[in-house]
């Protein structure tokens, strides 16, 4: 299981990359492993504003539906629409081509460091 050093995390297994007023969000390697084969992704519309802690979409595997939550509020500036035809990118490359959404934000989020997130995963298993 990989937990890159240069990202921040949430207890609900999203990763966050913050740069210059935008955040990119995806789900972690642990989350995609737990879900299994991802077959469907529901994305928000660009331009929509999402509040901190809100659900902004879903990721579905063959068996399970999993809601996506944002740890920071903001406006959706870009979505990874390639996931609509190739949701398996979330399994294959969760931190790269499997990114899900970009928000513009001025909020400071309360996020987990890689070390803290590793503890969350260990406690769950």
């Amino acid at each position: 299981m990989s937990i890159p050093d240069d990202l921040q995390y949430t207890k609900s297994h999203e990763w966050v990359r913050a740069e210059d007023g935008t955040v990119t969000i995806g789900i972690t390697d642990h989350a995609q492993e737990e879900l299994g084969d991802v077959v469907f992704v529901e994305l928000p519309d660009v331009g929509v504003t999402i509040g901190t802690g809100d659900s902004f979409g879903t990721v579905e595997s063959v068996k399970a539906v999993s809601d996506l939550y944002t740890p920071v509020g903001g406006e959706v500036v870009e979505v990874n629409s390639s996931l609509e035809d190739a949701p398996e990118k979330i399994n294959d490359d969760p931190y790269g081509e499997g990114w899900i959404v970009k928000l513009s934000t001025s909020e400071e989020a309360d996020l987990l460091s890689p070390e803290e997130y590793e503890k969350v995963v260990e406690e769950e298993s």
Binding site: D37, F40, E60, S61, V62, K63
Partner: protein, 359 residues
Amino acid sequence: MGELEHTPLYEEHKALGARLVDFAGYEMPVQYEGIKAEHDAVRNHAGLFDVSHMGEAVFRGPDAEAAVQRLVTRDVGRLDVGQAGYCAVCYEDGGTVDDVIVYRREDDFLIVVNASNREKDLDHFRNNTEDLDVEIADESDDWALLALQGPEAEKLLQDLTDTDLSALKPFRFAEGELEGVAAIISRTGYTGEDGFEIYLSPEGAPRVWRRLIDLGVSPAGLGARDTLRLEAGMCLYGNELDAETTPLEAGIGFAVHLDKEPHFIGQRALLIEDTQGLRKKLVGFEMEGRGIARHGYHVTSGAEVVGEVTSGTKSPTLDQAIGLAFVDPGVDDWFEILIRSNPVPAKAVPLPFYKRERG
């Protein structure tokens, strides 16, 4: 929660790196490599399932046949020795206790029941046959059960046995040996493919399991079992069947002999429903819009709720979101599925979704 039970193949699953989940009180493999890969292996080659959690009840004694006749919807008097039949077990009001397979053997009947219904079924069987001279034994712990399914199943299994498998027609079974282990080999399954269900002693089962895995068969978990049966349009107790649903409503009327004599429990209620019309009907559907229907989602037509989804998934074989739903009898072939408050268009399609080409 109590201690989970383990099947005789538990150590094999751990060694293969399976993801294990609680299913009907057993710690069972839901997947090994991944549901889609296992699903495809069964459709194109062969997959091996451990379904030892299923229950086995054996009916013995002078009134064994009379007892089975009373309990199941199929006329088992028409079964030959060596033949099996899929049937429902009903309450007096026609609601379904379970769906089962009855095996007619030389001296007794073996009824295979769903794991989650085992205790309920045994109580139902015994409570309704107290006046008969029959012994009903719960042999669930005496049997391991493997399902070898897929187009290559016969060729692979023939390597392990002297029993001529090519002579074994669907829903026929033979008592023989596999790898020197006594076995009942049954040409049945729950995937829509050709294949076998194999009843073995718990001690002998791991040897047969390992041999088949060594021959290149993919281990397959409960996740793939569910997507395979759904594509094949087969019912799952708890989803399509329950105490509030009759077998006629669930579309398994082929397993019900309404003209049967002696009568079975629930026959009168089913005859009345057959005459008066079904209260609800099971339909297969494909999603026309984006989204996957899941168990419990509402079926709508305009503003009105007209049904409920019983099973739904993205079909790996068809690459299409599919599902089963109970709808009001008058509903036409176009409706919507309410997915997270959004009505998404769907259309009814004939079942099964997938039918294998027979060689």
